[in-house]
Amino acid sequence: MTRYLLSRFVQSLVLLWLVSMIAFAVLHLAPGGPLSQFALSPGMTQAQIERISEQMGLNRPLPIQYLDWLFHLLIGDWGRSFRDTRAVLTVIGSHLPATLQLMVSSTLLAIVLGTWVGVLGAIRRYSLFDYLATIGAMVALSIPTFWFGLVTIYIFSVRLGWLPAGNMFTIGDGSLLDYLHHLIAPCVVLGLVTVAIWSRYMRSSMLDVVNQDYIRTARAKGVPERVILWRHAIRNALLPMITIAGLQLPTLLSGALVTETVFTWPGMGRLFLDSLSYRDYPVVMGILIFSAVLVLVGNLLADILYAVADPRIRLD
């Protein structure tokens, strides 16, 4: 166990280092490099740009710059926003909860609905339901999230008037009920893809499990089918899904960005787009790196959790 965790941890550190290299490359590959935003302002002379580049240490060799940049990253100094001079990590931190709430609620939706669809598809394999679920999942994966969001707003907000068209709260109302009312539409829109992916993996995980010897043993000793299904099959089929949940993080984050834009949800994705349009590069780069780190840590946690939950993994 300790060995597995240790090697997994070292792997993540290596990945983290590679992620930092890629982010640094993106920053410097941009035409004009980190100073490109100054090149666009009209009153700027070449001499001034050179002076700033001198001040910021941009004329030093790249490896030195990289180490310096990495050092500041590690001690939590991610620079300051051009827009309001707040520290980048503070800005991200203030928008993160909204995004996490959206992601968690969509994942819960996927766990409940996706598991149900997947299990039913597996135990009634090749039935009409299984067939429709397969097609449904593929179509769901093909629908652009933002369009699904627009259609949802059109039907449930514009036509029926059941759900608010955006934002997190009604102005002047901050109750939990109001919040949940606002959460429904973005949660479902973001959840569509998640439910589709989850149901597919759950189905194949379930098919793996029902062919295992211990299911046959349980049947042979006369355990009722209901108990086999719930206690033996579904519980075991859910275990590998911990890893799948981790692997879905990048998709979920990308989806959250789009969903937040359509529903004006005040999360990290909205912040990212706002910062892009203001050319607030410290925040843009900060969110880019932060999201990658979030994915990395999420996957590491998922693997640890999986190892804790399933003793068979630790033996490898």
Binding site: F146, W147, L150, V158, L288, V295
Partner: protein, 299 residues
């Protein structure tokens, strides 16, 4: 469908046939896969419509006519209605389709070539080279692709070419993973060892001996990459960092649609349907190809 899949599995267990026979069987299985046929037909229909459509319609996709703003579908010759500047929506949809489909195909070609080379080198040399390259792939996959794509898009001057390049730059990793696994497995096979023994060069073994045996999974991955590239293009164009107006793309046509959702919902509905149709088409086709070309996998 049910019997199709059961048949597929049974055949997979049979001993290997000669290449000629198995190719016919692959075609047979493919033809029986109705969803894949539906996908292929959808793609052909969209490509044909976008290729010749703009030459047939009476409207120019950029022609602004303020007398005919917000016409609902089926008004006069405006089959799909008109937009906020009185431009014919159908004409714009077809021109946008040219842009979106071209970007989808081109990005697929670029990312497949790049992914194949990276995957082949990593799988063939293995050891340090392989580990380093595949770790790099893992690291790129840590970035949520929309975030990476938008950051890159903000740094470049948007045009069809640059958009294609950055989409390819963020979607080659799947192909690389598939190819790496294939090449690594094939490398141990007798024919590869034999080729090495008679002194064939590394690049000859890699690209002439091993790669042709990995074509099937590459084709499947490439088909699914077109679907993803079309989706990615629509995302960044919708968010304003892709193809710039007045040139239409399916994504940027939806850009303005949100504010007219109340009065002109067709502006939002049709472009989204076009994207969904195209992406579904490629996803169905890719899935069908996977069943047809690789009987060992089952969905």
């Amino acid at each position: 469908m049910a019997t199709d899949l059961a048949d597929t599995r049974k055949r997979g267990a049979e001993p290997e046939q000669t290449i000629h026979v198995s190719r016919n069987r692959a075609l047979h299985r493919f033809l029986r896969h109705r969803l894949a046929i539906f996908g292929a037909l959808t793609i052909v229909a969209l490509v044909v419509a976008c290729a010749i459509g703009p030459n047939i319609t009476p409207f120019d996709h950029l022609f602004i006519d303020i007398r005919s703003r917000f016409l609902s579908p089926l008004t006069d010759a405006y089959l799909f209605g008109s937009d906020e500047m009185g431009r014919d929506l159908l004409a714009r949809l077809m021109m946008a389709g040219r842009v979106s489909l071209t970007i989808g195909f081109a990005a697929m070609v670029l990312s497949t070539i790049f992914g194949t080379v990276i995957g082949a080198v990593a799988g063939y040399y293995g050891k340090t080279v392989g580990v380093v390259l595949m770790r790099f792939v893992d690291a790129v996959l840590c970035f949520p692709n929309i975030f990476l794509l938008l950051t890159l898009a903000a740094f470049i001057h948007p045009s069809m070419m640059t958009i294609t390049i950055i989409i390819a730059a963020t979607s080659w990793m799947e192909v690389a993973r598939v190819v790496e696994g294939q090449i690594r497995a094939l490398r141990e096979r007798d024919f590869a060892v034999a080729a090495e023994m008679i002194g064939a060069s590394n690049s000859h073994i890699m690209f002439r001996e091993l790669l042709p045996n990995a074509v099937a999974p590459i084709v499947v991955a490439a088909t699914l990459t077109v679907a993803r590239a079309i989706l990615l293009e629509s995302y960044i164009s919708f968010l304003g960092y892709g193809i710039q107006p007045p040139d239409p793309s399916w994504g940027n046509m939806l850009n303005n649609a949100q504010q007219y959702l109340n009065t002109a919902p067709w502006l939002a509905i049709f472009p989204g349907l076009a994207i969904t149709l195209a992406v579904t088409g490629f996803n169905f086709l890719g899935d069908g190809l996977r069943d047809a070309l690789d009987p060992r996998l089952e969905g």
